[in-house]
Symmetry: C2
Subunit: 525 residues, 2 copies
């Protein structure tokens, strides 16, 4: 593959020169209706990516296709899933897709067929979860476990937490909520204390997640939990499993009921489909629910192999995002799910996107002359409409948006009020927002004027099921991967989190001077 910087691509120059689209005018009238019908790509699990309200047209799309080809996006993806060292900084393979299915050749690393390794962890987790659910594994008093608490931070928290929240109601309705799940992440002692205050520790299974077995926050919170268990006369070793690497101090450790393994080839933010998400989600729901989630993700991964942008929503989404960032110069992007179940999905995408592509050097360590990953934020709609949408509609800064919506609710419990259901009201609102943002509205009173030309896309699904959620997650993972290829960055390391760790340890060791000593003094550390 040619790993070229974005500004070395001929098509990037071409893209800058293509005539811009006036979104407001192309979305007006029947032309707009046609766009909505045509500018649509089928995704996995019945999802659809609609980009009618993005500032692109056939000419721009043609250049985007050429760019995908010139940047060899599909070839690079192929290298990735066939086991090349794509994470150049840490010299590692990148294998999260392999948790959900095999896309290419067998990948052998450290003398092991990695697909087999991931399947083996899934099998072990299923066996364990089944035993917890059917009462073969019980607490000291022989009672079933009712609650699972994940202790982890970053990718060991945000993804699995967002996935749990996304499926909790669906599982409840389908009698698949086996255990309630809670999460402890922050080193703030109030976090662990509050969660422990809210559960019956004697009937709680704790899942400790740390790849290295050395994460400050996670080990601190583990000690917190163990202290509480001991105070209640309980044996921590009967209440805790570890998800860690095979070489970590947590592996093969008698302090845990069981250990499930992850490896260096799946970064934290990509680990929801590994044992990191698998253990807590299989316990909270069932192993079969987790398997469905993986199935949906795998369907997305397969579609991401398509060279044709009109058959590959993740790649098209990536290219449009790049156009908005590097040609139209928009620095921020908003993810706006019209689904309360996805309330923490934007926080997960924030990590996924900003940690992957918030980089200033390319994969060879060279400075680049163009901007990379945008700031990403979001809250569920309709809530956001009554909040920050004001700036998105009438502010000085244009923020491209990515909506998500579903035809049906998860709990199937709805009421007709004034002739329409709540779900219809919810979806009428997202439709209205897309058109309002794109087309704006004239008004004599400038304070009530909407300029329009604010681009958005939407992913629409039937219902947020485990497989649809997997497909949605993998869509964004693959989008971020393709954008990383375009920017020529390594999307799979995170050196930017290291400095803080080092300095914090120096503060705790009182090995500081200058400003850091002065701040420590302010906090009386």
């Amino acid at each position: 593959m040619n790993w070229l910087n974005l500004d070395k691509l001929q098509t990037f120059q071409e893209l800058k020169e293509v005539e811009k689209v006036d979104l407001k005018s192309v979305m007006a009238g029947e032309n707009g209706a046609e766009r909505v019908k045509n500018y649509s790509v089928k995704m996995a699990e019945g999802l659809t990516y609609n980009y009618a309200a993005k500032a692109v047209d056939d000419k721009i799309l043609k250049v985007l296709q050429k760019m995908a080809d010139e940047a060899e996006l599909i070839g690079k993806y192929e290298e990735l899933y066939n086991g090349a060292v794509i994470n150049t900084g840490e010299k590692r393979l990148v294998l999260h897709q392999l948790c959900r299915g095999q896309l290419g050749r067998d990948v052998v690393a450290d003398g092991v067929n990695k697909r087999d390794f991931y399947l083996e962890q899934q099998r072990k987790i299923k066996e364990f979860a089944d035993k917890v659910h059917n009462g073969e594994i019980v607490n000291e008093k022989g009672e079933k476990f009712t609650t699972v608490v994940q202790i982890g931070i970053g990718g060991s928290d945000l993804g699995p937490r967002a996935m749990y929240i996304a499926l909790e109601n669906w599982a409840r309705r389908n009698n698949l909520l086996s255990m309630e799940a809670k999460f402890v992440s922050n080193v703030d002692p109030d976090d662990a204390s509050a969660v422990l205050n809210s559960v019956d520790a004697s009937r709680t299974m704790f899942v400790l997640v740390s790849k290295s077995g050395t994460t400050l926050e996670t080990l601190t919170n583990e000690s917190f939990v163990k202290e509480v268990l001991k105070k209640e006369g309980l044996d921590p070793a009967k209440h805790m499993v570890a998800v860690t690497s095979e070489t970590s101090p947590l592996a093969k450790n008698e302090g845990y009921l069981n250990a499930f393994f992850m490896d260096d080839y799946i970064g934290g933010r990509y680990s929801s489909s590994s044992a990191v998400g698998g253990c807590v989600l299989s316990l909270a729901f069932t192993p079969e629910v987790f398997a469905d989630f993986l199935k949906g993700a795998h369907e997305s991964d397969l579609l991401a192999k398509e060279k044709d942008i009109f058959k590959n929503a993740a790649m098209l989404d990536a290219l449009i995002g790049l156009y908005e960032r590097n040609v139209l110069d928009f620095g921020t992007t908003a993810v706006l799910p019209y689904s309360q179940a996805l309330s923490r999905f934007p926080a997960h995408l924030q990590q996924l996107d900003m940690e992957s592509n918030g980089k200033s050097v390319n994969r060879f360590g060279e400075e680049m002359n163009y901007v990379t990953g945008p700031v990403l934020f979001g809250e569920p709609g309709t809530n956001g409409q009554h909040s920050f949408y004001q700036l998105l509609h009438q502010g000085k800064t244009i923020v491209p948006m990515q909506f998500v919506g579903f035809k049906h609710s998860q709990l199937h419990n709805d009421l007709v009020i004034k002739g329409t259901t709540s779900q219809a009201k919810l979806n009428a609102n997202v439709a209205a927002q897309i058109v309002g943002y794109a087309c704006g509205k004239e008004d004599e009173n400038p304070n009530k004027r909407f300029d329009g030309n604010r681009p958005s896309s939407i992913i629409i699904g039937d219902e947020l099921t485990p497989s649809a959620l997997g497909a949605l997650l993998a869509h964004f993972e693959n989008k971020v991967m393709f954008q990383g290829f375009l920017w020529n960055v390594n999307s799979f390391d995170q050196e930017g989190v290291q400095l803080g760790k080092v300095l914090a340890n120096r503060v705790l060791a009182h090995d500081v001077d200058g400003a850091l000593k002065a701040y420590s003094d302010l906090f009386e550390i």
Copy 2:
């Protein structure tokens, strides 16, 4: 007052011309330690605003003081609290500060002394909450109410919810958690269903919050709740109070146990200190806890009257933010509380800031030639460190940051692990981040290099108590107000939310064509 556009201020030209500060060099060595000690402003309730790690120096601060004077910030604040029509768009007074204390002259509107009106609502709420707590007001079976559910959206949700979460643990430790609070906001039917599934409706008091009594989401969710109550053989009128305006259909309505009033002079995002926050927080905690919260906010309001920027943290924070937005050209800002209790505080500030100052026309309806409010986002630390901080440290875009931290935890339940408490670890991390962002780090490997020069400030308090929370909230409200004065926008209306409402109603009435019809079809509305 002279309501001038920012670019008409002489000091704005001056500000653009003052030499920029190289944060990295001024924060190095003992000079940095001196800055940390000196660049600090006392706030209310023992809080401190420290801006040592902002890219300002004495020369820039001098211009900022001149700008505060030239823009007549204090005079405009005085007009506001003395009852001028500051909300020019809607021709309304702006009186949220008056809920917490009187800052100037008596304010009479609609023939009523408004301070008396707000105090009367507080008195009525206290009387009601006391009766609920002591068992004078009970359910159909004579049982005490154990739970309160607020039904509201936007400002009727984000602020009160963030405040409740902020104080829940503090109240628990101090035996002041009278009732558990939950919140229903989204029109997504899964939101109301999930909350209703999680409470015992027979022992729940619902607080319906809608100023106009016509908010789509809120009335829909009210119907949802009433349906459930009826199904359980309960009388909705015995389980529900309204917080609304005196002229709304919800006032003096037999469908509610009681009604507490708000008025047009307090916008949703400023309403946490009105009956909108007062009712749910007095019920969840006690009326006295809410009074302490107001006391802290009033202390902040009083300090905001100071003309000297070194005695007025809100004004200084506003001016530095403006410098970053309009001179240094940073488009986004992050709020990063090192306190799990403040987990939803950024979402509230996101509304407060972006809805107030996300405007493109000035208070006279004229287009402006400069940018206004930034995009604001945030998550609690240390969680964010393992997520989007990567981009903040090493991304191509500089994002100014606002940290918040406390010397002590709320639950006072901490453990010494490896020689330090969790609270010390938490605070060592925030100190480390500030210095890491400002000073960066050289490295032979460019991938491990940190350029530094990433500005941040911090607000430090002793402990997050009700009064400290009030002071913190009012700080940001006043900061946003001062920035609105500087940008010459009306920070108190939100016309940008109207278009969506109108279009959504047309979708529901099937009165649409073009793109909107096509999107409705995709959703099968």
